[in-house]
């Protein structure tokens, strides 16, 4: 059973004379099938947190344990989807998707099978030979997702993966990511600054504050699971959805106002 434990994580760094507490005492845990969304204002250390989980940064305190193993470097057990610009323009769709398997020296026959299976799943199999720079933003992000999935990672780490897309494509991709999540049963850790996106996708939701980046509030949600039959707009305009959205927006706004008052005094 996959599990992720984040234990008392802190990240402090200095620029000149000022000390910045990017993260302070962050703790949470995830089990197989969880879709954890972290939402918060810009500068709240969401990306720093994801970079630590991915193994790109070493925290100044605390630890991350994935399936019983301490994380201190990047690895194929964690698939990372970036906001943009992380596909390799010199490779076509198939070659991008296959990259991880090729690096890990998986036999060619198995590579083709797996890659095509996942390209089918995201509806891109007919674009296998297309250069990635000829794809739309939404399609590029699907390639980025497949590229991680073929590695069969324990967890998907997604850093604002839909942030660069237009509103309509963004909603289509939200349903799409849910579908992939339900079909593969992967743990997903999803970072966004869109409250609406966060509530719609999350099975667990964490609201973070900025400087120091702390966990302010946690929710257990199930809008995604109840999605059966209902359209995305119907879910997002339901009274329950709106009341939670306003509650979280209120929390974030009051933090902003506190910060402004702090500056004024």
């Amino acid at each position: 059973m996959n599990s992720l434990i984040v234990n008392d994580l802190s990240m402090t760094y200095r620029t000149g004379d000022t000390t910045i507490h990017a993260l302070e005492n962050i703790s949470f845990s995830m089990k197989a099938g969880d879709f954890l969304v972290i939402v918060g204002p810009s500068g709240c250390g969401k990306t720093t947190l994801l970079n630590i989980l991915a193994g790109f940064l070493v925290p100044t305190g605390g630890q991350v344990i994935l399936n019983g193993e301490h994380i201190d470097r990047p690895g194929a057990d964690r698939g990372v989807v970036f906001q943009r610009g992380a596909l390799f323009p010199w490779l076509n769709v198939y070659e991008n998707a296959e990259f991880g398997l090729r690096m890990r020296k998986v036999p060619k026959k198995e590579r083709i099978e797996k890659t095509m299976e996942y390209l089918n799943l995201v509806g891109l199999s007919e674009f296998a030979r297309t250069p990635v720079y000829n794809l739309s933003g939404g399609m590029q992000q699907r390639v980025a997702l497949v590229r991680c999935l073929v590695n069969d990672p324990a967890i998907l780490l997604m850093d604002e993966p839909l942030g660069a897309l237009d509103a309509l494509t963004r909603e289509k991709m939200q349903s799409f990511i849910l579908k992939i999540w339900q079909e593969t049963g992967k743990m997903v850790l999803f970072i966004t600054h869109s409250v609406e996106e966060a509530i719609y996708l999350a099975s667990d939701l964490i609201v973070m504050s900025s400087r120091p980046g702390k966990v302010i509030k946690q929710y257990n949600l199930s809008f995604a699971q109840d999605d059966t039959g209902k359209s995305i707009r119907a879910v997002k305009s339901s009274p329950e959805f709106i009341s939670i959205r306003e509650e979280i927006m209120g929390i974030i706004w009051s933090m902003e106002e506190e910060a402004l008052q702090g500056l004024a005094s």
Partner: protein, 288 residues
């Protein structure tokens, strides 16, 4: 027959169909996409230049010693192509120069690209190599000639070495900046997909540096032709650059002009060649 010619002309001049369905733009001035290549004007300007040259020299507006007629230059071209100039035909001189350029270019790339890449990757290599390259790079190649004669004599090695120096620094600088142009997302993505550091170097950093390396090769090839004339001043007895310098000593301006035109055309051909290779090897240039 006529049809195929027409087809080629269409490709060359981009003759527009009358009922083209392109959207009509109201603003053309300042919009770079409306300009096109203007190949008709290229041909017109070359014809005008040749005609002007022809008449200026025919009516002896300028003494033939300064500006021989294009026909005389063409005659020299045929004469030297068949009978040769001081021991070699034109093709022979071109071949010798080409050998020197390609040898210098090849060695310069062979050494410059790995050095540039290592400078992009390692603080130690960058620190150690940077002052050496930055100190010799601004010095014009001519300044090295006396030293090169003393060191390497008057054989081909000296000339190749001078060309090597010119190519080397350009390739180092371009390879280094190519390596450093990679985005951190691509590096992070490769590592978290399971690549080790050698795989990241080969499959991400090096491929990503190719466009800038190719740009360096184009620039270096141009500079190599420029340096060739200087290189062939190193006590040469052959080569197209030497032919021009030697004939100038005897005031044979017809040969000088012929040599310059030949060098120009060959240099242009090389540029086209590298550009077409570039198109094939890195179609993704400029895309992210």
């Amino acid at each position: 027959m006529i049809l195929t010619v027409k087809k080629h002309l269409k490709g060359f001049f981009r003759i527009r169909k009358k009922n083209a369905t392109r959207p009509k733009k109201t603003i053309k001035f300042g919009d770079p996409t409306t300009i096109g290549k203007g190949r008709v004007y290229s041909i017109l300007s070359i014809i005008t230049l040749l005609t002007l040259w022809f008449f200026v020299s025919e009516i002896k507006l300028v003494p033939p010693l300064f500006l021989p007629s294009p026909l005389k230059v063409l005659g020299k071209f045929i004469e030297i192509s068949t009978e040769g100039y001081r021991g070699h035909t034109l093709a022979g001189h071109v071949f010798i120069s080409m050998y020197r350029i390609l040898a210098g270019f090849f060695l310069g790339c062979l050494a410059g690209i790995p050095v540039g890449i290592s400078m992009g990757l390692s603080r130690i290599v960058r620190g150690a190599m940077d002052p050496i390259i930055e100190l010799y790079r601004p010095v014009p190649p001519l300044a090295f000639i006396p030293l090169i004669i003393v060191w390497m004599g008057i054989g081909d090695q000296g000339k190749v070495f001078l060309l090597f120096l010119a190519v080397f620094s350009i390739m180092v600088i371009n390879a280094r900046s190519g390596v450093r142009s990679v985005t951190i997302e691509k590096i992070h993505a490769a590592y978290s997909l399971g690549a080790n550091r050698w795989q990241v170097l080969y499959h991400v950093i090096l491929v990503n540096a190719l466009p800038e390396i190719f740009t360096g090769m184009r620039v270096a090839m141009g500079v190599a032709w420029g340096t060739l004339v200087a290189a062939e001043m190193v006590a040469a007895t052959s080569g197209i650059g030497w032919m021009v310098l030697n004939s100038a000593r005897f005031l044979r301006t017809d040969i000088v002009i012929m040599g310059i035109i030949v060098m120009g055309i060959i240099g242009y051909m090389f540029d086209l060649l590298i550009r077409s290779i570039e198109k094939k090897v890195i179609p993704w240039k400029g895309k992210t």
